[in-house]
Symmetry: C2
Subunit: 465 residues, 2 copies
């Protein structure tokens, strides 16, 4: 047995009790919301066939997939030339399985494998860890949770409207008050490309525009020109960065700019329909203004996201006045299951970044106190006699549903009190010889130090109140 100082792999984390409880609070809010909208949970294995994952995330993504070594004598199936050809080639010979890289590809794989049993439209949510061999850095981990909700098998834009509603509901339930849900549409982006005379070049345009926050208008201009977008087109494009007014006014301006392009028309029509749904739903995201005076839901024509993937509406959510990237995002895709030979299944989905939401809630001190408590009462043990006297009371408290511990040894009082302190236990019950005689027990409130002498039934009533 090794006796070296143990460690955990770079980019992974242990979550101790206090953190798990807070994370579960976030997961709980997200799950309840998903379920209220008819999404049901799916869980897929941590390991997928390597062939299922390969080629779905681009060359760079393929590199970042954690591969699992075949068990047993994996070399027995290789030839000398497999080794000579290098790591990349050898990987395919000695590894057949890999760790899940996201929840989208496993979802597509599940839908295709179970196409005959699934009732469409199929609404599922999935909250599970994923693994990426990225270089670890602040806020970027090699194991992290994704929280996805997707519906496949319908083109209805009601789904898009409901995604706005779910985002708004989750973040509002988490007590966040200043956030922006940005929305755009792939058709708008394609329409813009056409309108500025660069039809079909929306891919290059988006990659550049996506950096507007980081490198500014001049930087984007430089990149656009480098990517071969004409100067004339760039000049036409730039005014769009600062389209202003209400969402309605922006839609009207876009109408006049993209009115003639087929894709632009499609985007505008879809967005108007999403707006109509939201109005009928009485959406707070439409009616609420952030402290800055901007509407919570904002049409942002510079929102790009991963274009290769999305085909309709796209979303991204930012908490304002906090230095943190987007905490949620998603969009519509028309051919997710096509990668497994099942074409024509349209869907729309989005996901929450739980690690980022956690950091935001921590920074804004928004975790409720109740999400930090485990045990409610610690019974102090003075000696064998007090221990035996305490046991039926311990049982009584637990039977009443009150999380209770009896300190398992007659340790020094100071040690027992510090245990309660460390574990954030709000009440301590002290039962010495006098208390055993009278049946009136000392209940100490650890927050304010106040002490009451009460019968057990009154203690239970008070703690349950």
């Amino acid at each position: 047995m090794s006796k070296e100082k143990p460690s955990i792999p770079k980019g992974t984390r242990d979550f101790g009790p206090a953190i798990v409880v807070k994370r579960n609070y976030i997961f709980g809010v997200i799950k309840r919301t998903f379920e209220k909208y008819g999404y049901l949970p799916l869980e897929t294995p941590a390991m997928e066939q390597l062939s299922v994952l390969t080629g779905k995330y681009g060359d760079e993504g393929d590199q970042l997939i954690f591969k699992v070594l075949n068990s047993g004598d994996f070399l027995s199936k290789t030839k000398p030339e497999d080794i000579e050809e290098g790591s990349k080639h050898l990987t395919r010979k000695i590894s057949e399985k890999a760790l899940r890289y996201d929840l989208t590809v496993p979802f597509a794989r599940f839908v295709v494998m179970n196409r005959n049993e699934i009732t469409f439209p199929f609404k599922r949510y999935q909250i599970q860890p994923v693994w990426r061999a990225d270089r670890p850095q602040k806020g970027r981990y090699r194991e992290f949770y994704q929280c996805d909700a997707d519906v496949v098998g319908t083109n209805s834009l009601l789904c898009e409207a409901e995604i706005v509603q779910m985002i708004d509901e989750v973040l509002t339930s988490l007590e966040l008050k200043d956030f922006t849900i940005k929305i755009n549409h792939r058709g708008i982006l394609a329409g813009i490309a056409e309108a500025i005379g660069e039809k079909g070049r929306e891919g290059d345009i988006c990659v550049a525009i996506d950096k507007l926050d980081k490198i500014g208008q001049e930087g984007v201009r430089k990149e656009l020109l480098e990517r071969g977008i004409s100067e004339q087109a760039v000049n036409k494009l730039e005014p769009l960065y600062s389209l202003s007014g209400s969402n309605e006014e922006i839609l009207d301006q876009l109408q006049s700019i993209l009115g003639d392009t087929e894709e632009g028309q499609r985007g505008l029509k879809d967005l108007r329909e999403v707006w109509q749904y939201l109005e009928q739903l009485g959406s707070y995201a439409l009616s609420t203004q952030n402290p800055s005076g901007q509407p919570r839901l904002m049409l942002d024509v510079t929102l790009a996201r991963g274009l290769s993937y999305y085909t309709g509406c796209i979303f991204e959510v930012k908490v304002n006045n906090v230095s943190m990237g987007s905490i949620s995002g998603g969009g519509r895709y028309d051919n997710l299951t096509g990668m497994f030979g099942m074409p024509g299944v349209s869907g729309v989905g989005f996901s929450f970044g739980v690690d980022r939401i956690y950091d935001v809630l921590e920074e804004l001190e928004l975790f409720p106190t109740s999400s930090q408590v485990g045990t409610k009462v610690l019974m102090v043990q003075f000696d064998k006699e007090s221990e035996l006297y305490s046991l039926p009371l311990l049982q009584k408290l637990r039977d009443a549903g009150i999380a209770t511990e009896l300190y398992p040894e007659a340790a020094k009082l100071k040690k027992q009190m510090s245990y309660a302190d460390q574990k954030n236990i709000p009440f301590v019950l002290l039962i010495g010889s006098e208390e055993m005689k009278s049946g009136k027990l000392k209940l100490r409130d650890m927050q304010n130090g106040e002490q009451d002498e009460l019968y057990i039934d009154d203690i239970i009533a008070q703690l349950k109140a």
Copy 2:
């Protein structure tokens, strides 16, 4: 992109919504019970350093650990002779990480790494998947969940008594009525070995006795003799297989058999103390008799479990009249963290086998109906007009906390009803032109087919009742 028919790795499973909901019901009962007893959640990464896991599970176990291939050009750090020496040697050169094999070693690793921050006694529970490269077969998977609870840093036998209580409470909460909690003690087994003249041979004796159920008394006799236990000793041992009477009577019989052995004394003293705790707690496990007339908690001197590991009390739980192995087990260990150079930390822990509990509840039809429901109401969509009319009502239902879906398209009624059916949605709301006129909506109970015409507020009141 590959277009082959996708599959999942052997021995792994997808859990669709209906199954996840049922599994979560089991996890929920277990979590609530653990927390009521002061255990708090811990989560560790799926990947551990390979060096942390190696050597902890025996040679066979080491083989069954899933190793993760180093990312990047993993061959660059190997020499030709590393490859010539074969798979086992090469593994150490191209793999530094591995998938968690159980929850016990990661727990020990966590305790050692955080020894200065942890308040002892440290009570943690952990519910996470583990991975083993076992040959898959019925009921044995390569990815499965373990549910462990352990307390380290105390010798108090109150912990053992509380484990009996937690097992009893979890299984009773799951509506199981006929199960046996077997208890034994490492000292009893050592004392028996000494008393029959084979001091120190309890390891061999236990490996053989452990097979009593499978190969019978004659088979065990043969194995004992093969393992070098004397015939005289075996003759003395066999009467112990059928010790009968109440637990108290068995303890008394053991007293006279093992009374002179140090280890036997230790075992008997510990067990009597556990019994005293349980009596004071008013334990149902003590007072309840199974339909067969046997007590729920049974001292069983033939209970062996993994002896290399445990040093005090050991537990195992079987559901009676169901063909299924043990669904829970555990015991006390005196040196878990010793493997990482931190000696002298005694602990006791146990775990539930969720897959087996799932199968038992399924066989006995004990899953509550409520654990099978997601969406409560499906609103049918007839046309655009009914859709727009329905939207504010949809929002109203959700605001009331009722999980509701509006079918996202005006599909044929039959298709929409079959969607409700497949998804087990208990109520369907039909809103056609007449309903829009009167405001009285048709609420159909999908179970009995009954239909009511009600205003939305009355529907909400009824569904929330």
